[in-house]
């Protein structure tokens, strides 16, 4: 007998899917109405986009000035058009893409409105995106750490603690031994905390989420304790040297792109290398194949002689080291000194980025950039003095996260065994 594979039958939409398609359409229409009424009508003045970072950018690029009201009304029209099609005919599989485009247009209209309404009338577009990349870094490292752990089916809620622990040790060692040793200390701390997670989750089969929460509580407690007990009286232990941005030859000279991506610190370059390396590693190497097998069907992997526990230990510790590097950035790549709870939930947002990025390194990076953008808005809008209370801008990344995980962007499939301890019989 030969294998006959069913020809794909035409898809029927379940009531739930039909509802979701409608909701996307309505969201687009609401965005259109909001853009028209709030950003469009009544807005006076022009908005100027600057592309040159003063004292840095190698080439001159002229500013772009658009009329505030006119462009918003135009963007509202496009949004309404997309929404109307989605509600009536539907974009089918492309609905998510259309939603994404719609959100970008909305943000654009928002920025134009904010710039046109501010006394400055202008803001620096390049600098905002550069800030986006910078701020997405710890989130992306958290997300990559999560990808590594969850591909072998270990949920790592402790990323937040690993970031914070990495930052603390980077500050302590970085202050006494220099920045490079600070980075090493951060990485090793993350790895050590992850090893604890692996022991609890793999060996003792403690509920993985609880094990992760314990790590977060422990690290928060001990770093706060030591900050008071150690750093308060010995400030010389909490004063690390910061690594300066380093321009990549040639690439750094590209207009705009160079400013955004290639005049950053070594951390950002490490991120790009990690994303490429993990993508290749997970999908093209023996290690990746085995890791994914352990995450999808650990029993199958076990029956083929793959050591499930060893794979889980290995990947979780590697994941912890990545989170530790993310933690070191807070000190060596950013402010040079440790403060209590300075990671402030970045690790958790990293987890959301991992889910949004569908457990794929490139997806995780993309999602982290979205969150980094939400984070960077705060600063831009602060400069523009829009009158929006700064507290609301602080909430933005968290609100975006809720919307993302609530599946406005559709459901994705985690590794099949995710979160389940493997019991060898």
């Amino acid at each position: 007998m030969t294998a006959v594979i069913a020809a794909p039958a035409p898809k029927l939409l379940t009531p739930a899917q039909r509802r979701r398609a409608k909701i996307i359409g309505i969201v687009l229409l609401v965005l259109a109405a909001f853009t028209l009424l709030v950003f469009g009508i009544g807005t006076e003045g022009d908005a100027t986009f600057k592309f040159v970072i003063p004292g840095q950018s190698p080439t001159e690029i002229p500013d772009l000035t658009v009329p505030g009201a006119g462009s918003s009304i135009l963007l509202a029209g496009v949004l309404a058009f997309l929404g109307a099609i989605q509600v009536t005919r539907g974009f089918g599989d492309k609905a998510n893409l259309v939603l994404g485009i719609g959100l970008i247009l909305f943000v654009l209209a928002f920025l134009i409105w904010a710039a046109a309404g501010s006394p400055l009338g202008a803001f620096n577009f390049t600098s905002m995106l550069r800030e986006t990349v910078l701020r997405s870094f710890p989130i992306a490292m958290g997300a990559l750490s999560g990808v590594l752990c969850e591909r072998v089916a270990v949920i790592n809620i402790g990323i937040e603690g690993m970031l914070l622990g990495g930052a603390f040790m980077a500050a302590l060692v970085g202050s006494t031994q220099g920045p490079w040793w600070g980075i090493v200390a951060g990485v090793l701390t993350g790895g050590a905390l992850a090893w604890v997670l692996a022991v609890l989750a793999v060996r003792y089969r403690v509920d993985q989420i609880i094990a992760g929460v314990v790590i977060n509580i422990f690290v928060l407690g001990i770093t706060s304790f030591l900050t008071v007990r150690l750093f308060a009286e010995n400030p010389q232990f909490n004063n690390a040297q910061i690594l300066k941005p380093w321009k990549v030859p040639l690439l750094g000279d590209i207009p705009i792109i160079g400013d955004i991506f290639f005049r950053q610190t070594i951390f950002v370059y490490a991120l790009f290398v990690l994303v490429a390396g993990l993508t290749f590693g997970l999908f093209r190497t023996k290690w990746g194949l085995r890791s994914r097998a352990v995450g999808e069907h650990p029993k199958a992997a076990d029956t083929l002689g793959i050591n499930v526990y060893r794979m889980r230990y290995l990947n979780v510790v590697l994941g912890g080291m990545i989170a530790g590097l993310g933690g070191a950035w807070f000190i060596i790549g950013s402010v040079g000194r440790f403060d209590e709870n300075m990671t402030n939930g970045r690790g958790f947002i990293g987890l959301a980025a991992m889910i949004f990025g569908r457990w794929h390194p490139i997806g995780a990076l993309g999602a982290a950039l979205v969150f980094g953008f939400a984070d960077s808005l705060k600063q831009v809008l602060g400069i523009l003095q829009t009158g929006i209370p700064s507290e609301f801008l602080l909430m933005a990344p968290a609100i975006v996260t809720v919307i993302v995980v609530a599946g406005l962007v559709g459901k994705s499939r985690p590794p099949a065994a995710d979160g389940q301890p493997y019991v060898k019989e």
């Binding site: 007998m1 294998a3 085995r290 999808e296 029956t303």
Partner: protein, 502 residues
């Protein structure tokens, strides 16, 4: 060249799963290992494959004692196993599944998928095991998945192959193809252990038969020298009546009517197409089909667990196409679910708590928002008695009960009330002969008391034995309706595979 088990004993806390088992298989022969569910076959083979370690006894390959600390060691000793539940990663391709664990690599651990694909194609051609090397496992029918499992074992140069209940998921025609492959492997000099609880199959394929009962080898036989009933008696330990005793059905008014039913899965793919049928009071209608042809979805739609895209379901004149599970339960529908542990029971709950899983909202088990645990316990005690659930107490968690007793708890709960319609999915899957007989009797009894019964089963024997009328499902459609006395397993098998008997 032979594989030998000598005095294998395996003790779990409180259970003697294998009791000094001796067993030998030579290369170039097929050994049938026959035993009913729960006899200890799978445990024995898991020891042989290095998944469990034996409490006592030893394993010898070519006379050399072996120490297996994991499947890797067993594989290295030339032993391969095709598991009852396929050990395939659904989101990997055929090739990736085959090479997993022994991957050909280029420098730096980079996978050499080109060579891997070549190897798969070579083995595939050598044994006539046709598989698409780049297809994802989740897109393949079970028959093909089984071929991938066999290639996986051959790729590791196994000399001895263990098949654990390999035919459970196949149609009769696929079983024939599969037997062809097994014979080819035997001719190629492989030693084969064929584990099953199906008498006909073991008589059809094995060179020798060992019978396992309650962890012990209780007999040996050569096909042709024993009858089916002799083997059955050896397997169960007492004479077995293989037929269900029942009188002719006397169908009355229709209880369940299904009109042009369409159901889709979570991703919008249609899984039930325009299905129409009816079930009358006092008759048993059996739904036959290979697993995954829409039966589970049909049952879910009938019991309110999934949404209906279009069409109508009517029970006792009431349109229930959009009804909730509770509304359907309250009409008098009993539902014995396909997977008792996944959806039929709350395993950490006690028997008492499980007995009211779908009736806790009714008087007298609760009044208003307060549970009445005394009334509930009284009812549970009565039903446990009446349905012969073997348990030390009604306050033990059902997770402590054996499969047969768990199923009896469900049957007691569902049949213990006034029932108009029974929807039973795989009611005896994985049970021992005693429990199977008991549950079949109860189902027939419900019919004789005037209930309409719909049985869904992938076991043809069960369908043929119980049904008064048989519907065959294939790819979400009902492709045939036959009377059990007017059909044969072969014809049914053809319908189940989408063909028509000539």
């Amino acid at each position: 060249m032979e594989l030998e088990l000598r005095g294998i004993t395996k003790r779990f806390p409180g259970v003697l799963a294998n009791d000094s088992v001796d067993l030998t298989v030579r290369q170039g022969e097929i050994l049938g290992l026959l035993g009913e569910n729960g006899a200890g076959k799978t445990t024995l083979m898991n020891i042989l494959y290095g998944l469990y370690s034996a409490t006592e006894g030893e394993i010898l390959v070519d006379g050399q004692p072996q120490q297996f600390s994991g499947p890797g060691d067993a594989i290295a000793a030339g032993i391969g196993m095709v598991h009852q539940h396929f050990m395939l990663v659904p989101v990997f391709t055929v090739t990736e599944n085959v090479v997993l664990g022994v991957e050909p690599t280029l420098a730096g651990g980079v996978l050499d998928l080109k060579q891997a694909r070549g190897d798969v194609e070579r083995i595939s051609a050598q044994y006539g095991l046709e598989v698409p090397p780049d297809a994802y496992i989740e897109d393949l029918p079970v028959g093909t998945q089984q071929r991938v499992e066999i290639i996986k074992v051959l790729f590791r140069d196994a000399r001895f192959l263990i098949f654990d209940e390999p035919t459970a998921v196949l149609t009769p025609q696929e079983v024939e193809d599969f037997f062809g492959i097994v014979r080819k492997l035997k001719d190629d000099g492989k030693g084969i252990v064929f584990i099953t609880h199906k008498l006909g199959e073991v008589l059809g394929i094995a060179d020798r038969i060992n019978v396992l009962r309650r962890g012990k080898i209780v007999g040996e036989a050569i096909p042709g020298e024993v009858s089916e009933s002799q083997l059955a008696e050896m397997m169960v330990g007492r004479p077995v009546d293989l037929v269900v005793a029942k009188t002719a059905a006397q169908p009355k008014e229709p209880v369940l009517t299904v009109d042009d039913l369409v159901v889709a899965d979570d991703f919008g793919n249609p899984v039930i197409h325009d299905v129409s049928f009816e079930v009358r009071a006092g008759e048993i209608v059996g739904v036959a089909g290979v697993q995954g042809n829409g039966q589970s979805e049909l049952v879910e739609a009938l019991t309110g667990l999934s949404q209906v895209v279009s069409g109508h379901i009517t029970i006792l004149g009431q349109d229930v196409s959009k009804a909730t599970p509770r509304e359907i339960h309250d009409i008098g529908v009993a539902h014995v679910p396909e997977d008792r542990q996944r959806s039929g029971l709350v395993l950490p709950f006690t028997i008492t708590e499980n007995m009211v899983l779908d009736s806790y909202h009714e008087d007298p088990y609760s009044r208003g928002i307060a549970m009445d645990w005394d009334a509930t316990a009284k009812m549970a005690a009565t039903l446990v008695e009446q349905y012969d659930v073997r348990t030390p107490s009604i306050d033990v968690p059902v997770s402590n009960l054996s499969g047969g007793n768990q199923q009896k708890v469900i049957v007691a709960r569902e049949f213990g009330h006034d029932v108009k319609l029974v929807v039973a999915s795989q009611p005896t899957r994985g049970l021992d002969v005693g429990s199977i007989e008991y549950i079949h009797e109860r189902i027939v009894q419900e019919r004789d008391e005037g209930a309409a019964i719909l049985i869904v089963s992938t076991e043809l024997d069960e369908i043929l034995a119980l049904s008064d009328r048989i519907l065959v499902m294939y790819r979400g459609r009902i492709v045939a309706e036959v009377k059990p006395e007017e059909t044969t397993p072969t014809d049914l098998g053809l319908y189940m595979a989408g063909g028509t008997p000539s």
